[in-house]
Symmetry: C2
Subunit: 328 residues, 2 copies
């Protein structure tokens, strides 16, 4: 029996959905559900294509109460820039959670992933950053660095931004763009230690395999969101920093143990506090979040299929008549 | 940078590709590659949605030398028939193995999976069935029972067919359809023991969780292809039959240990012959196949991502201008 499937391109999706507080609420709900224990979220399917310097990850999750579930495919092919193509691409497919029928194919080239990742940063800031953030800093200069600063600004109206990256020209360009989009002064920092020292909220958005943020730089009243590490081997935060912080929170413990900052801390023998809380438990109030403006908090984001199901379901409601209907 | 993606519906795919020896050759090549050790095939991603009596599996594989790789999503929602919908649905996505860009979305509702599964049965018959098959029998009466008999007939021109299922009316209908499509008499068998006794080639295509084929029914000159078991808990063949056969062959050992007939035999403590050969090794000649017309052989098919990549690549070459081009 044939049924209608909506095919939606990246351009159409960009017209339908952007980074705003409504989306942050949607992603917050996904984390709350994840901590309830009722979400079904299998381990990430991951395949490496070494000959092409490529990899592909598949994520999914079923969230009870949601009409649909997403399957998200994220290829990363790191020789693409030399061909004039972006490294990251992919699509999301939305299925009915009642019948399994395909409802929509979002040919987003990673746009929805960028949004739901940024929105998770906003959720972390909402629940863990100090109430007063005068300066926010980002380590990293890519597309996600820009989005994470925009997301942080939705939750904490900081008056000044800082950017640091290994390439000073890229850092300057990122700072200039952020100044314009946020309407507050954003400067390139001379070094990452200085950036951390002057910020109350720091986001790391790098593919680093050696820490870019040292434990000795932690200071009272600092929140760090580390969102770059999504594979075993990546590591942005000095493993000693996790234990030194007052509170360390995972998006998903099982993923952070395998792919996140926690993996590096465990491997270094520097984590002895047992199972960390998840962001969803902090949101739900079943685990304590920040209890004091002077605390140091760290949130480790590896990216979850629950976010994909949440954003795909949200987008479907915003589409109107956008896209092409195919009878299949 | 936007690029063209071909969206192809089930009806368009049915117009472009069917079950023939060219497809069997394609799937044979996939198994040969799989046994070479150079294919990258991650474990199946599997998610259960218990509230909806549903599940979804995701398979993929990278085959060196292929321009693309497929990701195949197979939802199975077993309350669908009561809604007038088929239980099995899904789609396949073909990606460039060089850039990771989406090349085509095949909205096949499981049609390509049906074909590549049937073609694997033909490959098993080609390499393991006795040269002379007078009678072929199938246990099971669904769509795959029909396709498997057609596939077997491509490789062994049997003069008579038998069908057995728990529902006699469905078995009679399946037999009548097969008589018409194959052009040879196909009858419903009175019982499965009789079917096996009279056949030289038997295919099992059931979702059985208790064996439907007993070890005591094995007889000289018999080949069995068991393709129903694709999940832990399913079991079509008496575990004692695997050890009693002269040769037992897996499509993929790691999958058969977890999901196939081998799982049940291992669980029953009835398998002591070490690692069985894979079908691809038999095809490549690196493991012996049938060496004698009187041997008893069993092939255990759980379904591999390599088959999906192979059929998706094959179909792309057959499409011509079929489908809808979307710029994404």
């Amino acid at each position: 029996m044939s049924h209608e499937i909506r095919i939606v391109t990246e351009a159409e999706l960009r017209g339908a959905v952007g980074l705003d507080r409504a989306l942050v609420d949607v992603i917050e709900n996904a984390f709350r559900a994840l901590a309830s224990g009722r979400v079904v979220m299998p381990p990430i399917l991951s395949m490496e294509i070494a000959e092409a310097n490529g990899e592909v990850d598949v994520k999914t999750a079923y969230i009870p109460g949601f009409e649909g579930f997403a399957i998200k495919v994220s290829p990363g092919f790191f020789d693409n820039p030399a061909r004039g193509l972006p490294s990251l691409n992919g699509l999301m497919i939305l299925f009915s959670a009642t019948t399994g029928l395909v409802q929509a194919v979002f040919l987003d080239n990673g746009y929805l992933t960028d949004l739901r990742t940024a929105a998770a940063g906003a959720v972390a800031a909402r629940h863990l950053a100090p109430e007063a953030v005068e300066t926010a800093g980002v380590i990293g200069t890519g597309a996600q660095a820009r989005l994470q600063m925009q997301a942080a600004h939705l939750e904490r109206r900081f008056a000044r931004g800082l950017v640091w990256g290994r390439d000073a020209a890229r850092a300057a360009a990122c700072a200039a763009e952020l100044s314009a989009s946020l309407g507050v002064p954003v400067e390139a920092a001379a070094d990452p230690a200085r950036l951390v020292a002057e910020s109350q909220l720091v986001i790391t958005t790098t593919p680093a395999r050696q820490p870019v943020l040292e434990a000795g730089w932690l200071h009272p009243g600092l929140h760090i969101t580390a969102m770059g590490s999504d594979q075993a081997g990546k590591n942005e935060i000095d493993p000693a920093a996790l234990a030194a912080a007052d509170l360390y929170v995972c998006d998903r413990v099982s993923q952070c143990e395998a792919l996140g900052e926690l993996r590096a801390a465990l491997a270094a023998g520097l984590w002895h506090r047992g199972t960390p809380p998840e962001l969803g438990a902090v949101i739900a109030g079943s685990a304590p979040g920040r209890t004091d403006a002077e605390q140091v908090t760290i949130c480790d984001l590896t990216g979850t299929g629950a976010q994909d199901t949440a954003i795909a379901s949200h987008v479907r409601g915003l589409l109107g008549t956008a896209g092409t209907a195919v009878i299949a």
